[in-house]
Symmetry: C2
């Protein structure tokens, strides 16, 4: 796109360029003006991008209980200290600890050839205990299919190969429609006597990156190794099985659970000037899978939440209510941090009269913002949603943000039963599952403006809720 | 993001995941159903991504008049032939031809050091004729500042260093607010006796990629070399000038205009079954700058326009009106293709009674769709916009698409005076100027789903206009 108009160029400069993508936001009242200031600051004085660079490139993958996770706790606490918030503290919680061990070796032996498959262990999986498992393969698309295999599954390797539905516009819906294979596949297969499972990676792309993620064993059943295979190699295996049903797969892989370890949620807050006991929470999760840098999942959400405090400080905004930034530990494999936070919040509600009025989580990537989704269990949820929409949507719609009912975030949803009004930040979802839980989730995949526009959107929403409340 | 809920997982799978980002589109009437089918096809049977791979990786940069541009004409014509449209043809036009020549060498000599600056010649610039120009530098922010330099500019190199405004949400508005320096800087500086200009690259990022783009000489003034410098080196030069105002820059660069060359617009159409003389145009531009592969600018727009025909074919959709795909030549440095097309359209309106009722251009990148902007000069434009919004917006809003008044596209805007209802496809603008007119605008920067969702949005809009007309 060049947009050159020779003689009329200057005259057209603004009338042509600017409106092509709509006017910038209006500024005809106090809220619109302040929100405009939030955006200006976010796009020029955010610190999140550099914080995220450090988290990703100097610390890296931050699986719960790992030394990197502890370094991330220390680093973000230190950075929050630089904001001169009223309080910064760590909230202890015990987290499960899993170690991936050696990279798996998975080979496919056919009558006339042998090749390797790109795999990684799923989070929580046992390894093969220094042995190599060998078996024929049964390809299935659903958990129900495995249940119906009966004797046929005995001694076999079950290959779950149901792709994410590319026709879903919202990729999270496609993910939700496919990840039962990853989470429950191993125990369902073990119940039928299978010796291991391979699960197609959860992405709509055909590529070479296996996507890890949590899996759960049923305690009463044998624990068998669970690995995910890249989509390209899932296609390759499926094709090979059509040609040669009794090909043999060998699996050698690591993975073991260790004892629970102590860790922390990282918290900073500014006390409200009028209603200090009313808490508005904004957060993300500090842990990540170990394969990559946890840039979009969820370093981005953490630094956005931290930047909400930074921007309010830079704008000399004095909140009426207490604004609290919480970086949760252990979202990926247990949500221990989220559960602990909710437990303490309930205690403090009873002991100190603290009340969480709102909690917002950013955990869907640092992509261009599309809006927010709201959730709650309170009898006044619908009224609150309506009130918020009436007040905030007209101001934020100018920034192409939409307000919908829907889910919020894993770490804050334990507070749903405490009747907290919950929200999830909703960035564009198209690129998330290109990277999710793979070696590709690295800092270079973050676009600074997209990240900062998300921060601006989150800060603006919190400003509106702080100013007007929800009752 | 992991979203694990152990005991309730399956039950929550859909109630939790799916609504997080809103429900998928409704399907409660015929239009919504058909649009849903368009999206399904687009996400599973588009051909654009592979066409674009070829255009980018097998042909590459396609500057007007170059052999690559002619190969792109031949290739896209051949691909359009495979769609079995009613007609596929080339529409001849003469295009300006500029050659970049040798890579520039620009060095900065200070009292105690010498270093090189990352630069490229601006499109249309003259070179230094195998000489090396040397001069002191005057940094300015605006064209007006240059006008006021008078004698001081004589023999100097003028350095235009006004950044794109990062606070604009819409990056095209920021671009529009800064590119007068690039387009007109050279002649305004030459008028004051300067010997060359360096222009800060048009991006909000600080990086090492110079951004080319067209510049225009005033015929009555001396033609001096015009180069753009990467933003990082613009910052470096600016800092150096503060420390040492009389540092010297040497410039040696290529660049020359050749004789105009014959080229073509590439056109394919399906004749309408009821109103064949009413033409609905969809297009992009086939030429690109020479530095990279022209992936987002504008290979993406071309393959999206081609895919509109492909998807309608695959859906067995028989248009009432004539749907015409036009791949314009020479948008980047002359818009010769767009002007020729408008000229012939006017002739055919008079001779054959053909009437363009609508033209849509995709030339803002292959990013995730945000909506459309509409433009027109007809006395019924506002009514048309209102009608279209009433009919199409409720269906397309489900896909997070907004309808606004605004600009359309460089190639179709010559038809504005023919009272054609015009539209620009409006993808998310945040990443465009990271790549625009640089070596970075390559195929690997294209996300297949984002590209295809754009195609789906465009096809859906055209379907609605074909079905309901605009009067």
């Amino acid at each position: 796109m060049n947009f050159l108009r020779k003689p009329l160029f200057i005259a057209l400069c603004w009338s042509f360029f600017s409106p092509l993508f709509g006017q910038d936001a209006p500024s005809n009242d106090a809220d619109a003006l302040f929100v405009r200031q939030i955006y200006d600051k976010a796009l020029t004085e955010s610190r999140g991008y550099e914080w995220l660079r450090h988290l990703c490139t100097q610390i890296g993958g931050r699986l719960s209980g790992s030394p990197q996770a502890e370094r991330a706790v220390a680093y973000t606490r230190q950075m929050l200290d630089t904001l001169h918030a009223d309080s910064v503290w760590l909230q202890p919680c015990m987290v499960p600890r899993w170690e991936r061990g050696a990279k798996p070796i998975v080979s496919m032996k056919r009558a006339k050839s042998m090749s390797f498959l790109n795999t990684v262990a799923l989070g929580g999986s046992v390894g093969t205990a220094d042995k190599t498992l060998k078996g024929n393969v049964i390809e299935v698309k659903t958990l129900d299919e495995v249940d119906n295999l009966g004797e046929k599954a005995k001694g076999k390797i079950i290959f779950f190969n149901r792709p994410m539905d590319p026709k879903q516009i919202n990729t999270f819906a496609a993910y939700g429609g496919a990840n039962d294979q990853r989470v429950f596949g191993a125990s369902r297969a073990a119940k039928q006597g299978a010796i291991a499972v391979l699960v197609r990676s959860l992405t709509t792309r055909i590529d070479d990156f296996p996507h890890t993620g949590t899996m759960i064993y049923t305690d009463s059943l044998p624990k068998i190794p669970a690995l995910c295979v890249s989509t390209r190699d899932a296609e390759k295996l499926s094709k090979a099985l059509k040609e040669e049903a009794n090909l043999e797969i060998s699996v050698r892989s690591g993975g073991k659970m260790l004892a629970d370890a102590p860790s922390n949620n990282v918290i900073a807050e500014w006390r409200g000037s009028e209603f200090p006991n009313e808490i508005i929470l904004v957060g993300g999760h500090l842990d990540s899978w170990d394969l990559a840098q946890g840039a979009h999942d969820d370093g981005a959400g953490c630094v956005q939440a931290m930047d909400v405090l930074n921007l309010m400080k830079r704008l000399n905004y004095r909140p009426k209510r207490t604004i609290r930034c919480v970086l949760f530990m252990n979202e990926e494999n247990g949500t221990a941090g989220g559960k602990k936070y909710a437990e303490i919040a309930l205690e403090n509600a009873q002991k100190k009269g603290e009340k969480h009025i709102f909690a917002l989580e950013s955990d869907a990537g640092g992509f261009t913002p599309r809006g927010f989704s709201f959730d709650g269990d309170s009898e006044i949820f619908t009224e609150q949603f309506k009130k918020l929409t009436n007040i905030a949507a007209p101001v934020l719609e100018s920034y192409d943000l939409s307000f919908k009912k829907g889910g919020s975030g894993s770490d804050i949803s334990p507070m749903k039963k405490q009747k907290v009004f919950l929200a999830g930040f909703r960035p564009d979802s198209q690129r998330y599952f290109d990277l999710h839980h793979t070696t590709e989730d690295t800092f270079d995949k973050i676009n600074q403006r997209e990240l900062e526009l998300g921060t601006a959107a989150m800060t603006s929403l919190i400003y509106m809720i702080d100013k007007y409340g929800l009752n």
